[in-house]
C-alpha cells in the first residue's frame, strides 16, 4: 500500500530566472506524473522541508513539468539556491484544479497578480491548446513593477494568438514603461466580456484577490462564475493535517479552486 507522506524522486533539469525574486524550475519526475491545470504538488527538498506549488507548465507535456517559485521564506530560499541536476521529491498532484469542462463556449477572463501568474500560465496553455472551445481569453495582470512581471518576454507572444486579449499594469512604473499604472482593479473597467456568459479566474496575493473579487461582483459577475485560487498554510496536501481549513472546507482537498459562491458565507476568507 502506498505511503501518502513519501515523495517520489525528480531532478531539476533547468532553472530560469524570471524576476529578481522568482525562478522557474523545470523538473523531470522519475515516475509517471500527470496533473490537471490548477492542481498543486508538494515539493520536497530532501531532508530540509516541503512546500506546496502549482505547476506553471502545460499539462499536455508529460515527461517534465515546471514550477515558478517566489523566494518568500525558508524552503523557497533554499530552492532558489539550488544547482541544476539536483534531486528533489514530489508528492501529488493534489486538489481539484480548474473545471475546464464548464468553461466551454464562454468568455474567459483571467485576473492575476504577482507570482499568481504561475498557476494561471498553466491554465492559459490549456486554454490555448483548445482555443476553439472558448469565445475568447482575456488576461488582466498586475505586478509591482515592470521588473516583477513574470514571463515578461512570453506575454507579447500570447497576445498574438487569435481571440486572446491582454492588458498589464504595474503599481510603480520604470522608465520606458508604456502600459497602465495602478493596481489591477484599475484595468477591470470596460472589460470586453459578456457578463452573463463568462468564467472569471482570479489568482494572486490575498489582498489583490479580495479587491478584484469585490470589483468583479460590483460589475455584475455572478458569484458562481468567479473562480478563486485559495492559499493557506498547508502540510499534508490531502485533507489529513488540518492546517488549511476554512469553514467546512479543506483548501487542499476541496479546492484549491473554489467559486466565490462556495466561499461567500465563510468568515475571514481573505485573511
Amino acid at each position: 500500500m502506498k505511503n501518502i507522506y513519501r515523495p517520489f524522486e525528480a531532478t531539476v533539469e533547468d532553472i530560469i530566472v524570471e524576476t529578481p525574486a522568482i525562478k522557474t524550475f523545470v523538473i523531470r519526475p522519475k515516475e509517471s506524473f500527470v496533473f490537471k491545470t490548477g492542481q498543486f504538488i508538494e515539493l520536497t527538498l530532501p531532508g530540509m522541508g516541503e512546500a506546496p506549488f502549482t505547476p506553471s507548465s502545460d499539462p499536455g507535456i508529460k515527461d517534465r513539468f515546471e514550477v515558478t517559485v517566489m523566494n518568500a521564506g525558508r524552503v523557497t530560499f533554499l530552492l532558489h539556491e539550488l544547482p541544476k541536476k539536483y534531486s528533489l521529491g514530489v508528492r501529488g498532484p493534489y486538489g481539484k484544479g480548474y473545471p475546464l469542462e464548464s468553461f466551454t463556449g464562454k468568455d474567459i477572463l483571467i485576473v492575476g497578480g504577482g507570482v499568481g501568474l504561475a498557476p494561471l500560465r498553466s491554465l492559459l496553455f490549456s486554454l490555448f491548446s483548445e482555443i476553439n472551445k472558448y469565445n475568447k481569453v482575456v488576461l488582466r495582470y498586475g505586478a509591482r513593477s515592470p521588473d516583477d512581471i513574470v514571463y515578461r518576454s512570453a506575454i507579447p507572444e500570447w497576445s498574438k494568438i487569435d481571440k486572446v486579449d491582454i492588458v498589464l499594469t504595474v503599481d510603480a512604473p520604470a522608465p520606458g514603461w508604456k502600459g497602465n499604472v495602478g493596481v489591477v482593479t484599475t484595468i477591470l473597467n470596460d472589460l470586453p466580456v459578456d457578463l452573463k456568459n463568462s468564467a472569471v479566474i482570479v489568482c494572486g496575493p490575498p489582498v489583490m484577490m479580495k479587491f478584484a473579487t469585490m470589483k468583479l461582483l460590483g460589475l455584475g459577475f455572478p458569484p458562481e462564475n468567479i473562480y478563486l485560487s485559495m492559499e493557506k498554510n498547508m502540510s499534508c496536501g490531502l485533507g489529513k493535517c488540518g492546517h488549511c481549513r476554512i469553514g467546512k472546507f479543506y483548501i487542499c482537498k476541496d479546492g484549491p479552486v473554489f467559486t466565490y459562491a462556495e466561499l461567500k458565507d465563510i468568515y475571514d476568507i481573505w485573511d
Binding site: 500500500m1 505511503n3 531532508g47 521564506g73 493534489y94 490531502l238 493535517c241 467546512k248
Partner: protein
C-alpha cells in the same frame, strides 16, 4: 447470547500473562494519588508482575496515542536500502465509550477522504480494543450531554462489564470473537442473570450521570453548531482566551484532535519525514509565507478550535468532534472550560435577541 461470555476476576491475570506472549499489552494502572485531582488512571505497558486494574472511568491519555502517536516516522525517502516499518500486534484494555466513539473522527480523517494513511490503518487493524463500562465518572465528564453513553455499544472488539466476581465479556467484532476462541478456556458461557446484572448497572450509571449533568446546564447538543456559528463575532472568544498560555494541551489530550505537521530532517545522511502532533492554539499553526497569518490572535485560534469541532465535523461527518470526556477541561492551566464557553455564547446570543 452468542456474543456474551463470563471471565472470572481470579483468572484475568493469568490470561494477561498468556496474551503478553503474542501481543503488546497496555492496560490502565493507578497513577500516584493526587489530592487535588482525585484518583487517576494511566495506560502502562503491562510487565510481568503487574496486576490487572479495572479503571472505573476513562484514563488520562487519549486512545489516539496508540494509532497516531505524537511523533512518528512517517516516511524515509531516497535512502539506500529498504525503509521498513515495524508494527507489533497490540491489545489495549481500559478504553471507555468516549474514547471508542471519538475514534470515529480519527478513522474518518485517516482512513477516508482522498487517500488512506496506511500507517494508521495498519495500527488500527493490529490493535485490539478491550473496552469497559464506566462504573463511576469524573467531575468533568459530560458524555451524556453529547448523547455518548457511559458504555460502548459498538466499535469495540471486546467489552468488559463488571459483575460479581468477574466480568461479563461482550464480543463486538470478529477480531474479538477470534481472541475468545483462541483463549476459550478462560471464558465460560454467560448466564442470563449476569446479562441482567449488566443492564441494571448500566441504568444506574446513566441515572447518576443524568443527575450529575443536571447541575451543569449544558446547552443542548443540537444547538452547539449554531452557537459557534452565530456566536462567531461575539466577545466570548476574546474573554475566554485571556488565560490561554498556548500550551496546546487541550488539543494533544483530546481524542478527536488530529492535526499534525510534517517535518523533514536528515540524520546520518538519511532523509526522514516526521509526523508530529500540532495544535491550532499555537501562534505558528496557520502562518504562511511572508508572515501572513489568518489566525494571528489567540481569540481567533480559540474560535478555530470550536468551529472545527462543532461546525466542520457536523458538516462533514454529522457528529461533533467532542465526546464529552472532559480531558481538555482538566488539562487546561488557564481553566478554560468548553462547557462555560458554550453557556457564555448561549447567554450572549439570548441577550441579543
Amino acid at each position: 447470547m452468542d456474543n456474551f461470555y463470563y471471565l472470572e476476576s481470579a483468572r484475568i491475570n493469568e490470561l494477561l500473562t498468556r496474551l503478553k506472549k503474542d501481543y503488546n499489552v497496555f492496560s490502565p494502572g493507578l497513577k500516584e494519588p493526587n489530592f487535588t485531582k482525585g484518583t487517576d488512571y494511566s495506560y502502562r505497558n503491562l510487565s510481568d508482575n503487574q496486576q490487572f486494574v479495572f479503571n472505573p472511568y476513562r484514563v488520562i491519555e487519549p486512545l489516539k496515542s496508540f494509532l497516531t502517536p505524537f511523533m512518528e516516522n512517517a516516511a524515509a525517502y531516497f535512502n539506500p536500502g529498504k525503509d521498513t516499518i515495524d508494527l507489533g500486534k497490540t491489545i489495549v484494555f481500559g478504553a471507555k465509550n468516549c474514547d471508542i466513539t471519538s475514534l470515529k473522527i480519527q478513522d474518518f480523517v485517516f482512513m477516508e477522504g482522498v487517500e488512506v494513511d496506511y500507517s494508521y490503518r495498519m495500527k488500527r487493524e493490529d490493535t485490539l480494543l478491550v473496552s469497559g463500562d464506566c462504573i463511576d465518572y469524573k467531575e468533568v465528564c459530560f458524555c451524556l450531554a453529547l448523547d455518548v453513553l457511559p458504555y460502548p455499544t459498538m466499535g469495540f472488539d471486546l467489552n468488559l462489564s463488571p459483575v460479581s466476581d468477574g466480568y461479563l465479556v461482550e464480543a463486538g467484532s470478529e477480531k474479538g470473537k477470534a481472541l475468545i476462541e483462541k483463549f476459550r478456556e478462560y471464558f465460560s458461557e454467560a448466564k442470563d442473570t449476569q446479562v441482567w446484572a449488566r443492564k441494571t448497572k448500566r441504568e444506574d450509571i446513566v441515572n447518576r450521570l443524568k443527575r450529575h449533568l443536571l447541575a451543569q446546564n449544558i446547552p443542548p447538543k443540537e444547538s452547539l453548531q449554531r452557537l459557534v456559528k452565530d456566536g462567531y463575532n461575539l466577545d466570548t472568544w476574546k474573554e475566554f482566551m485571556l488565560t490561554c498560555v498556548e500550551c496546546g494541551g487541550c488539543n494533544f489530550i483530546c481524542n478527536t484532535c488530529h492535526c499534525f505537521l510534517l517535518a523533514d530532517t536528515s540524520d546520518d545522511n538519511k532523509n526522514k519525514r516526521l509526523k508530529l502532533w500540532d495544535s491550532c492554539q499555537y501562534a505558528n499553526y496557520s502562518r504562511a509565507a511572508g508572515g501572513a497569518n489568518p489566525l494571528k490572535a489567540r481569540y481567533q485560534r480559540l474560535r478555530f478550535r470550536f468551529t472545527k469541532k462543532f461546525d466542520f465535523f457536523m458538516e462533514n461527518l454529522g457528529m461533533p468532534a467532542c465526546c464529552g470526556c472532559g480531558r481538555c477541561i482538566e488539562v487546561c492551566p488557564g481553566k478554560i472550560d468548553l462547557r462555560e464557553v458554550w453557556k457564555d455564547l448561549q447567554n450572549k446570543l439570548k441577550a441579543k435577541q
